[in-house]
Every structure is written in C-alpha cells, then in structure tokens.
C-alpha cells in the first residue's frame, strides 16, 4: 500500500504559475487522482491554504458530480479550484459547465522579465567618408554609406542598401545578392546606372533634381521618389 501511494505521488506535479498553482497528473483513474490530490493537500494543509489551483488531468474523464464534489472538498482546505485542463472533451465540457477555466493563458514556463532594451543592434554596414572619384570601386556584403559624392565612373555594389550623403552620379547596385527590398538613397540622385537586385533603372526615371531622393522597386520597376518621412520600411 505504501508503495502504491509513492507511485501515485510521483505521478503528481506541482508548478507555480502566474495564476496560482498548476497540478498535473500522469495516468490514473479519477478516483486515484482525487484521492491522491486530497492526500497531498491534507499532508501540507498549511501550504495549500488559500491557494488557487488549476488541475491538469490528462485524458482522464471526469463527470460533473466528481468535479463538483472535488471542488467542494478542496474548498474545505481553503483551496479554490479555478481551472480544469484536460484533453478529454467530456471533462472539458463538464468543467466549462461548472464555470471553470479550461485554458491557462500562454506559456506555462516561468516568465523571464527583461529590462527594457532600447539599444538597437543594427546591421553590418561600411562607411566611406570621402568623395568616391572615377575609377574607385567598393563592394560590400552589407549596407554601404558614403559621406561625400559618388562621381561618374565610381562604382558601389552592396548586398544591402546604399546611402549617399552627397551627389550620386556614379554606378550603384543595391541588393546585389537578389534582395529586392533594398533601396538607394541620395541627397541628389543622378546615377549613371542604378540597379536594385536584378532590376536596372532606366536613366530618365532614375534621376531626381536637386532634392533628396530614394529609389526602390515597385511592381518590378525601379521608382525614384522624393525623400519623405512617411514611407514604407526599407530593406527589411
């Protein structure tokens, strides 16, 4: 008999969750479950007094009478039964009829509370802090940022976005690995040739006057827009 109890006890697991305690059972009949639970609570009445518990009974079928009786018995120990979780539809319906919850919100794992992280990680980029003159070329697996002009005859190839804080008059290829969300931004957009992923911009459409502009792919074509605050999320 002692052994029996040991086994039953081993089949019972108590876990603290946000809403109170979650007690799960392994295999067993409803009588075993009820007696096992009551024994357990009786043994540690002090601990359980005032507790809110949720029961996970697995596939065990429980009827309204059993469940109501259990709830009453538990309340004698000062324990509130508020949820009954089961994979058995009968048990679930019964629980719902008795006004018990049948789902526990979200993950049962302990909540990890992180401090608010406002540092932005960013992505790999290369900064060129000078004017890129004719004959100079840069290719990079990431974004390329140029502070200075990109003159005719200069070339930039980037797998990410290309940002030119200056006049863009050379040849640029953004999203070179096929990323068609890539964009090209420049204070003045007059590229010799502008390419995003596999799409090559037709020269007249790729030009802007003397205002900041951004080029991206829309419906399979490169379009150039004046720089605006309200715009889609680029290059994600």
């Amino acid at each position: 008999m002692d052994n029996d109890i040991q086994e039953k006890k081993a089949a019972l697991q108590i876990k603290g969750i946000k809403e109170g305690l979650l007690i799960s059972f392994g295999e067993g009949t409803r009588e075993e479950i009820v007696s096992n639970l009551l024994e357990h609570i009786q043994a540690q009445a002090g601990f359980f007094n005032g507790a809110r518990i949720a029961l996970d009974v697995g596939k065990t079928v429980m009827y309204a009478a059993d469940m109501g009786a259990l709830r009453d018995q538990l309340s004698e120990f000062g324990v509130t039964l508020w949820a009954m979780i089961s994979s058995s539809p009968t048990t679930e319906t019964t629980a719902q009829n008795l006004g018990l919850a049948t789902r526990i919100s979200a993950p049962r794992a302990e909540r990890v509370i992180r401090t608010m992280d406002t540092a932005v990680g960013g992505e790999k980029a290369m900064l060129v802090h000078k004017t890129m003159r004719s004959g100079f070329k840069t290719s990079y697996d990431g974004h390329v940022i140029v502070i200075g002009d990109v003159n005719p005859g200069a070339e930039i190839v980037a797998s990410g976005n290309i940002v030119v804080w200056g006049r863009l008059k050379g040849m640029v290829h953004a999203g070179s690995e096929g990323n068609d969300n890539a964009v090209v931004c420049a204070l003045e957009m007059q590229p010799t040739l502008l390419r995003i992923a596999e799409v090559i911009a037709q020269p007249p459409t790729a030009k802007s006057g003397g205002f900041p502009a951004t080029a991206y792919i829309l419906n399979g074509q490169v379009v150039v827009d004046a720089w605006s605050i309200e715009r889609k999320e680029y290059g994600s």
């Binding site: 000078k130 004017t131 890129m132 003159r133 004719s134 004959g135 100079f136 002009d149 003159n151 005719p152 005859g153 008059k169």
Partner: protein, 264 residues
C-alpha cells in the same frame, strides 16, 4: 631653400599639360624664379618642341638616370630666360627606363639648384604617371571643359589623393565663354562642382596658343594674349599672390569698351 616640386598631369591626353608646363614655367622664370622643367613623357617627348629647345638636346633624363652624364649636362638653359632649365625626356626609350625612385633622387639633386621644379606628365595612369607623381610636393591637374576630360581628371585626383600627394590644384584649359554661355560646353562652375578641388587657373581658348606652340615660342611671352595672361596669373598664384580670375567675358565690342573706359 629646397625647391617646390609641382607635377602637371591630367589623365586624358591633349588637354594642355605640356602647354601649361611650358607657359607656367616661363612665367615663373620671368618673375625672377629659378625654374627647372622636366619632361616626364619618355618616348613621346615634346616639351622641348613647345619651348623651342629641340635642337639643343645632347643628353636627356635617361642619360642622367643611367649615369652617362652629370645632371648639369642634361640641363638645357633657355635662350630667353637665364634661370629656366629643361631636362628633356629620351625619345628612343620608354617609360620603364625610369623608376619612381629615380625621379625622387633626381629631384632631390635638383632641389638646391632651383626654386621650382615643374614635371610634365605623360597621359594615362600607368608607369609614367607613377614616375612623375613620386617626387611631387603638389599637383596641378589640367582639364578641359569636356565631360571626358573631367572624368579623367576626377580619376587622376582620386589617385593623387590615394597616394597622399596633394594638394591638388586645378587648371581649366580652353574655356570658350560663348559656348559655355549657350550651354554647349561645361562652365568652370560645372567642372568645379564635380571635381571639388582648389581652382588655380582658368585659361581661355586662344588661337595664339596653337601658333606659338608651333613656333616654339610659348604664348606667355606675348603680352596681348588672354591665354598668356591667364598663365601668368597661374604663376603668380603658385608664388602665393592672390590674383583675381580673368574676366573671360568677351562680348564687348569696340564701342562698349570705349564707353566703359570713358565711364571710369
């Protein structure tokens, strides 16, 4: 005092490197400076022709480098100005006859003899360019107001900056004001906007330049020529004088000129 070594280069051929070297050199010498001109275009020499010193070449740059003569023997004294010397290039060899370190050694030797060393470059960015850029203290880039010449100048400026041989000064040669006004030619402003370096001279298109080059008598020696005046101004700016840029607007006819003189 050690001489200032100025390399005149352009990238593109035919924009007026040799003309600029000859004229600026003469103008400096005329202003009382001791000047040595080195023709760095080995195998395609013509600075001697422009200066009219062709028939006086005995030894050349390669002879000096290879030890067949002393430096002094290869320095040709100009017939017009006593303090102007030319070290001509060899015509029978090519660029590989001289190395960048040869040029540095040569300039170091010349340094105490003169105030300015002007080196004329070959076109291109290969060995010849490396040779002439090695000893430079500063660089004059010559360009024309044409898209192709400006593109090459841009490349050259990039290479000079990469070699840390600055500062780069820009000469815009053969400006045709009338054409620029009509929008048929780049204006000096267009060129400067792209190249973004210090402008040291704007030289107008002038038929006199061709005539004088053919005669071996550089235009700077002609007082009336506007191009000659422009080259003299470049020389003054090299010597550190602040000279205003020429008014290249030539639309005034004789009556307008007269009236403006009367108004003054």
């Amino acid at each position: 005092m050690a001489a200032k070594v100025i390399t005149v280069t352009s990238g593109k051929g035919g924009v007026g490197k040799t003309t600029t070297t000859a004229n600026v050199g003469l103008a400096l010498a005329e202003a009382g400076q001791r000047v040595a001109l080195i023709d760095g275009d080995i195998g395609l020499r013509n600075l001697d022709v422009v200066l009219g010193l062709e028939n006086r070449i005995v030894y050349d740059l390669v002879d000096v480098v290879e030890g067949r003569c002393r430096l002094k023997q290869a320095m040709i004294r100009d017939k017009r100005l006593p303090e102007l010397y030319l070290i001509p290039a060899a015509q029978t060899r090519d660029k590989s006859a001289v190395s960048p370190s040869d040029m540095v050694r040569l300039c170091n030797e010349l340094c105490n003899e003169v105030d300015f060393i002007l080196i004329d470059s070959p076109a291109g960015i290969e060995r010849g360019f490396r040779n002439v850029i090695a000893p430079a203290d500063s660089v004059i880039v010559v360009t024309n107001p044409e898209v192709s010449a400006v593109r090459d100048a841009d490349r050259i400026i990039g290479l000079v900056e990469a070699e840390e041989k600055g500062p780069v000064n820009l000469v815009i040669n053969r400006i045709n004001t009338a054409m620029a006004k009509r929008g048929d030619m780049l204006t000096p402003e267009d060129v400067l906007e792209l190249l973004a370096v210090k402008l040291i001279g704007v030289v107008p298109e002038d038929e006199q330049v061709v005539v004088s080059t053919n005669r071996g008598n550089p235009v700077v020696l002609e007082n009336k020529s506007k191009a000659g005046q422009a080259f003299r101004n470049i020389a003054k700016r090299i010597m550190g004088t602040d000279v205003p840029f020429l008014d290249l607007d030539e639309k005034k006819d004789i009556f307008q000129k007269l009236s403006s003189i009367l108004r003054q």
